[in-house]
């Protein structure tokens, strides 16, 4: 009771503080550009390398960062992220370790929003309430839980709200207009548009497909929209932020990491640099995209 009263009093007297995700998208809006959201799998291929990549990402131009929480059975992921998850689990990854990484990252960076993406079962095993408490305390800003559709969201919604974690919902090409409002009910932070029907890292949505899909979502929400699944190249990331507000790049970065490993699957001295160079190239294209678009009113080249 006391706690409830306190919370009520706080929200009554204090102005709502913008969380990191809101603040970031507000700043980007002022700058008139879209966001790059690079992805890394926690502990892939080892704790130190993935920590170095995480810490290097903001400097390389990441606006937000998405961290994958490894799971033994990643049903929505293609071969690239499946392999990343296997390497991470072999390296000792766990939910607790992923949260520790964020805590360490937050010691140096209090501004870049961090979103965790994963599957439900490790969160259930950790305990949803304790997970949300620890995630928020570690400096996590939002959660994307792939196999937790709106229909089952109550499992996590209360705890996430209590600790002011955004629940970022996935919208897919199969989500029709009648279902959209229901899917976005309780969604906060941003909307994650899964731009293809398929697993991660396999196909890429065309510019035309994105141009048709994004306004459909805009019609029912004011939240920023990120495009993920199949965004690989700087050009594709640029197209994504022209149609939407952010581009998530995952498999392409992991492919770079994987190709840099030695024959035993261990990081080489240039692994971190190669991944961050690619982030830099993507960030460069994303930051110039809207400017380029305003010069060519017809929009980006569809090739």
């Amino acid at each position: 009771m006391v706690l409830l009263f306190k919370k009520e009093r706080l929200s009554f007297f204090l102005l709502p503080v913008m969380n990191r995700i809101e603040a970031k998208f507000a700043a980007l809006k002022r700058e008139g550009r879209g966001a790059l959201i690079p992805f890394l799998e926690a502990y892939d291929p080892d704790p130190a390398t993935s920590m170095a990549i995480l810490q290097g990402m903001p400097g390389a131009g990441a606006d937000l960062i998405e961290i994958g929480m490894p799971f033994s059975d990643p049903m929505a992921d293609g071969p690239t992220i499946q392999a990343a998850g296997r390497r991470a689990l072999l390296a000792g990854a766990s939910v607790g370790h992923t949260l520790e990484m964020v805590r360490e990252f937050r010691a140096e960076d209090d501004a870049t929003p961090v979103v965790l993406m994963g599957y439900l079962n490790p969160i259930l095993a950790y305990d949803p309430a304790r997970f949300c408490l620890d995630a928020a305390a570690s400096g996590v800003d939002g959660l994307i839980v792939v196999d937790l559709p709106t229909e089952e969201a109550a499992l996590l919604a209360g705890s996430a709200a209590a600790h002011e974690l955004d629940i970022i919902r996935l919208v897919a090409p199969t989500t029709d207009d009648s279902r959209l409002p229901q899917v976005l009910l309780g969604c906060s932070g941003f909307v994650y548009y899964v731009s293809i029907t398929g697993v991660t890292g396999t196909r890429t949505a065309s510019v035309g497909e994105l141009a048709a899909a994004i306004p459909r979502i805009r019609a029912v929400t004011d939240l920023p929209i990120a495009v993920g699944f199949g965004v690989r190249t700087p050009e594709q990331a640029a197209s994504a932020v022209c149609a939407a507000d952010a581009a998530v790049v995952a498999s392409a970065l992991i492919d770079t990491l994987a190709s840099s490993l030695d024959e035993n699957g261990r990081a080489r001295p240039d692994t971190v640099r190669r991944v961050l160079d690619q982030v830099r190239a993507l960030a460069d294209a994303v930051s110039k995209a809207r400017v380029a678009m305003s010069r060519t009113p017809a929009g980006v080249d569809a090739s």
């Binding site: 799971f71 033994s72 059975d73 990643p74 049903m75 929505a76 293609g78 499946q82 689990l89 766990s94 939910v95 607790g96 599957y119 439900l120 079962n121 490790p122 969160i123 259930l124 095993a125 950790y126 792939v146 196999d147 937790l148 559709p149 709106t150 229909e151 089952e152 919902r169 996935l170 919208v171 897919a172 090409p173 199969t174 989500t175 029709d176 279902r179 899917v183 899964v194 029907t197 398929g198 697993v199 396999t202 196909r203």
Partner: protein, 407 residues
């Protein structure tokens, strides 16, 4: 005082509208699949209400599958063990040699009704893959079967059967290369082929409505067995025993008996090299509730919620989860779940072959091994009904290897 009308006192009304059996079941799939799962639910509910659908299914079950399957009094095993009378429900006599075809027949008719033109399925032992390939051949539909690479190796005869039937068999090399991995890969195919593809799931697991739908199609086993038992003995059995991997053959024979409190229901899980050996597939006895493959149920998992590999000599039981209705029946105490090891199953496999002239699937050998434990202490007036859900021809290579025989 106004009382709300009393709810019928039944355990057979589940799941609820959310696909829940108590705390289990549900629909834990990515948003891409969610509209498809909802569409399937609507289509299945409509088919269930359509007498034409049931009539069509009955026709295929009778003249193509060969139903009803007989109820066999296993007289020599009964005499050998000297206790309860043992009856087999002979699902191994179905076309394709197992119970799996019951649900495949129902689902392929539903897929056709829904206008789907391509079928995918997962398989462990290959029995579900063979049954799926069979009904696809019958309907002239292309068919892709995902099968763990390890299972492809240990179930070669079934792989060849599927290919003969025109199916494409895709070996899955991720994970341990068994049923769990095949299921992951089938779901990945489905998410990439949402417009034309029907996922013909083989067991009473997965997102709602699969657990309820597959159970309904398999309940023909228990419904027939009940009537046959009444005809043969004039009463219900005292115990019903079935092996449990995902749990479709057990759910099929249990369900029509759920509301008969006098009938004990026993599901036999694979204890592999021993329940505490770390190499087993006993999800209820050694697992904890969690979410995998679209449903909440008992799962073999580590402290971090990573799914652990199951082990069983029987590929059909080699799965780290179990259907959600079983999880619920366990929690409310309506059904009991016990474990039988690889070695015990191997011994039963041989005993059944020699004594009844029936080579049982290794899955069913688990159920029989448990009956060997309980039958002798029961009276001659008591009756045990076992679901002999598949024949063992597919297992002869595995068994030969374990017995040191060269084929």
């Amino acid at each position: 005082m106004n009382h709300a009308p009393a709810l019928p006192n039944t355990l057979r009304s589940g799941p609820d509208g959310q696909g829940r059996f108590g705390a289990y079941g549900g629909r834990f799939v990515a948003e891409t699949l969610m509209p498809l799962v909802l569409e399937l639910d609507t289509a299945y509910e409509a088919a269930k209400r359509d007498p034409g659908f049931q009539k069509e299914l009955d026709y295929y079950l009778k003249d193509y599958v060969g139903r009803p399957s007989p109820l066999w009094f296993a007289e020599r095993l009964t005499r050998l063990w000297g206790g309860a009378k043992i009856y087999f429900k002979r699902e191994e006599l179905n076309h394709t040699g197992a119970h799996k075809v019951n649900s495949c027949m129902g689902q392929i008719l539903l897929a056709r009704r829904m206008g789907r033109t391509r079928i995918i399925a997962e398989t462990g032992a290959g029995q579900h893959g063979v049954a799926t390939a069979t009904v696809c051949a019958l309907m002239g539909m292309p068919c892709v079967i995902y099968m763990g690479a390890v299972d492809v190796e240990r179930q070669r005869p079934n792989v060849f059967r599927m290919k003969l039937l025109g199916a494409e068999v895709v070996p899955v090399t991720t994970g341990a290369g068994t049923l769990k991995d095949a299921m992951n890969e089938a779901m990945r195919d489905w998410v990439a082929n949402v417009t034309d593809t029907y996922f013909l799931l083989g067991t009473v697991a997965g997102p709602h409505p699969y657990p309820a739908m597959v159970r309904d199609f398999q309940s023909v086993i228990g419904t027939e067995a009940r009537a046959q038992m009444m005809a043969a003995e004039g009463r219900l059995p005292d115990v019903v025993v079935a092996s449990v991997g995902g749990g479709s053959n057990a759910m099929g024979i249990f369900h029509p008996f759920l509301d008969e409190p006098s009938v004990r229901l026993i599901g036999v899980e694979a204890a592999g090299r021993g329940l505490d050996s770390g190499a087993q597939a006993a999800s209820i006895e050694r697992g904890r509730p969690g979410v995998l493959h679209g449903n909440r149920t008992y799962l073999l998992q580590d402290d971090d919620g990573q799914i652990t590999e199951a082990h069983s000599i029987s590929a059909g039981l080699d799965y780290p989860g179990i259907g959600p209705e079983h999880a619920w029946l366990h929690d409310i105490g309506r059904a009991e779940y016990v474990g039988i090891t690889d070695d015990e199953a191997l011994a039963s496999f041989q005993l059944c072959s020699r004594t009844e002239g029936i080579i049982p699937a290794l899955e069913c050998a688990h159920a029989l091994a448990h009956i060997e434990k309980i039958a002798p202490s029961m009276t001659a007036g008591e009756i045990i009904l076992m679901n002999l859900s598949g024949r063992g021809d597919k297992d002869i290579f595995t068994v030969a290897e374990h017995l040191g025989a060269k084929l």
